[in-house]
Amino acid sequence: MRSNTSVKMFCVLLSLLLLSGCIPRSIVDEVSLMHNVGFDREKGMIKASVIFPNYTEINKPTLITAYAKNTSSLKGKLAAKIQSHLEMGQVRVMLLSEKLSKSGISQLLDSVCKDPKIGVIRIAVSRGSLDKILETSLKESPVYLKNLIDNSIENGGIPNIDLHTMFDQHYGSGIDMYFPTLNLDPKGKIFVDGIAIFKKDKFQYMISDKEALLLKFMSDRNKNGKYEFNLNMNGHKTNFGFETLYGNHNKHIIRNKNIEKVKLNLVLNIRIEELPEWIDLQNKSDFNSLRNNIQYSISREAEQLLESFQKNKVDPLGIGRIYRIKQKGWTENNFYQNIYPKLNFEVQTKIIFRQVGVGK
């Protein structure tokens, strides 16, 4: 009995050992992990530029480009140019050129959706030359671009955009997707300069980083950012800025008679970082007037932004979705052709002075 059990145990152990040898392995030193991928369109082909750090030689990341007609064979073309197995699992930033974005990216996004290896990824649109941006990032650390975008999402004016929101906006109806855009400043530094809004899968409308902050207020849970506007108060004029800490928003549709209105309530908790000397917050009227000025400025600019979305036929805020809740037989085409252009917008902002700084 006992020998029988040990023979069985031996067989199981042996087969486990033998069979585990069949598992395909990939060792970090022996694969080419890429961190940044850029896609462009040239002469009817898709061009991929890939950066991956060469871990065998210290600090020598390389940029490799390949051309193909579809994304699947692109991988093969790239693989032919590097010494070791290409691994997609560590891709952090996917950069799309403006030209490619304007011609449609659904095929590319589908390949992202189907690849189980792709995990934490930020998609961005490059304004200006994609190659230049990638070449500039070669000098920095491999995750430089990712950190740059992460930082502007967390603390800057860019709403959160990751794989999940991309799927949600791309495959879901009643909302349009958007990605941050990267650009080069005159000194050759990369910076996030705004948001590219897509209609279906085509780049349609671009907004600046200041407008993007308003979009962040109206759509994202995280409302951290720096807001500035021209303050005109007590006969003085100045440019005034402050930091928004957190807050909440809700949007709903009000129907009366023939007019349909999108009403957006915004509550923002702010911290004041600098004050012109002619404002005294201890003074009740100064305090209220400052609050009203800020509230008015944000509301008006947000309304203008919403109207410009309407004019350019994009809906990054997902107004179609709120509308769908109350309308039976909602269809995307009908909404954007007949209803969306006629909507009115009203934004109401409430400002709470949470912190006014430690100095006086």
Binding site: F167, D168, I322, I325
Partner: protein, 365 residues
């Protein structure tokens, strides 16, 4: 006629909970969202509740079917249809149990191939899993019960992972609620049956449970717990994914795990898939054990022999199922057979049994 199982081979009554719950949770939990929401969309959770309630009714029927004298399915078959016809029916049930086993077995291998190792061969994984299953099943029912216990306890920490998608929930995705017709709801309810299938194996292991009077209570608690967990996961995934997105991602649960990140492990879905083996093994073992039990009770084949034969059959069929479409078809087929088995065959069996009982009584009277 029924069997008396010696007490040393029996397990405590509360193990019914783990056996029932473990045999219901399997691969279906990884990809059911897109299947059940095909018709009822955001209202599919209502269908899920409908199915859950109906499963409680079926369980009630099952415990009416089994009694002191006829305490497993084979005995009931003998009682209702006589020896020959009864054995043929038992053989058909055996084939159905085997196909449930095959579905889970092959789908799990597909998940590993699709998500982790695209180039690994089916036969390699079949041998590894086959040996493991043989090892567990051949050591008897008590071992399987123990394995079901740990197969419920250990993976339950995975449940805490719903915290990550919960951070991104959007409550408007459930609106407009109650906007689908009864027909849509019923179609979704039918699709969600595969989540609950597996509990019917109690028809074979019922004699192995101690104190049979308290078994129904634990069985109902087990089913209710499954329903409860399914509902929570359904709500979280419906609030996390838009309905249109769900139709684009077949493995919704794994896609939710994808966003889980710790500072020490970035891709939790790989760990999740392999921990899921612990969830897969109990249903595989219980169904295979039930098959071998039917073979023993009807044709007096030794379990060690029959388990080997069954595993060989499962391995061979798994390897021969090459295209993903066939695997989907198999899962569909199995779900359909299960649907007719629990909703039509079992109530029918109860009716026949009651008629026969009345007939015998009137004869004696």
């Amino acid at each position: 006629m029924g069997v008396k199982v010696k007490e040393q081979f029996q397990v405590s009554t509360f193990f019914t909970f783990f056996l029932i719950h473990a045999s219901q949770t399997s691969v279906g939990l990884l990809n059911y969202q897109s299947i059940i929401s095909k018709n009822a969309q955001q209202d599919a959770w209502i269908s899920l509740i409908m199915t859950g309630v109906s499963i409680h009714i079926v369980l009630f029927i099952i415990f009416k079917l089994l009694d002191e004298k006829n305490n497993d399915l084979v005995a009931v078959h003998h009682f209702c249809f006589g020896k020959i016809l009864g054995n043929i029916l038992s053989l058909l049930v055996l084939i159905y149990f085997l196909s449930s086993n095959l579905t889970i077995f092959r789908t799990y291998i597909e998940i590993i191939q699709e998500w982790v190792y695209p180039t690994i061969k089916t036969w390699q994984l079949s041998i590894i899993f086959g040996l493991t299953i043989y090892y567990i099943v051949s050591s008897g029912f008590r071992n399987i019960a123990g394995f079901s216990f740990w197969g419920v306890i250990i993976p339950s920490f995975l449940f805490g992972l719903i915290y990550f998608p919960m951070k991104h929930m959007d409550f408007t995705y459930l609106l407009p609620a109650f906007s689908h017709s009864i027909k849509d709801l019923l179609q979704s309810a039918k699709a969600s049956i595969m989540l609950f299938l597996g509990f019917e194996w109690i028809l074979m292991y019922f004699p192995f449970l101690k104190g049979s009077s308290k078994v129904p209570k634990w069985a109902h608690i087990g089913t209710f717990y499954s329903l409860f967990i399914y509902l929570i996961i359904t709500f979280v995934s419906f609030l996390y994914f838009n309905q249109e997105v769900l139709q684009h991602i077949p493995w919704a649960t794994l896609m939710m795990v994808k966003i889980v990140q710790f500072s020490f492990v970035e891709r939790f879905e790989y760990i999740f898939i392999f921990i899921w083996l612990l969830v897969i093994l109990p249903p595989l073992c219980i169904s295979l054990w039930s098959c071998s039990r039917i073979a023993k009770r009807t044709f007096s084949i030794q379990p060690k022999v029959s388990i080997g034969i069954f595993l060989f059959l499962i391995g061979v069929t798994s390897v021969s199922l090459k295209e993903f479409e066939n695997i989907d078809k198999l899962a569909n087929f199995n779900g359909n057979v299960g649907f007719y088995f629990i909703y039509i065959y079992i109530p029918l069996l109860l009716v026949i049994k009651l008629i026969k009982n009345g007939f015998i009584k009137s004869k004696i009277g």
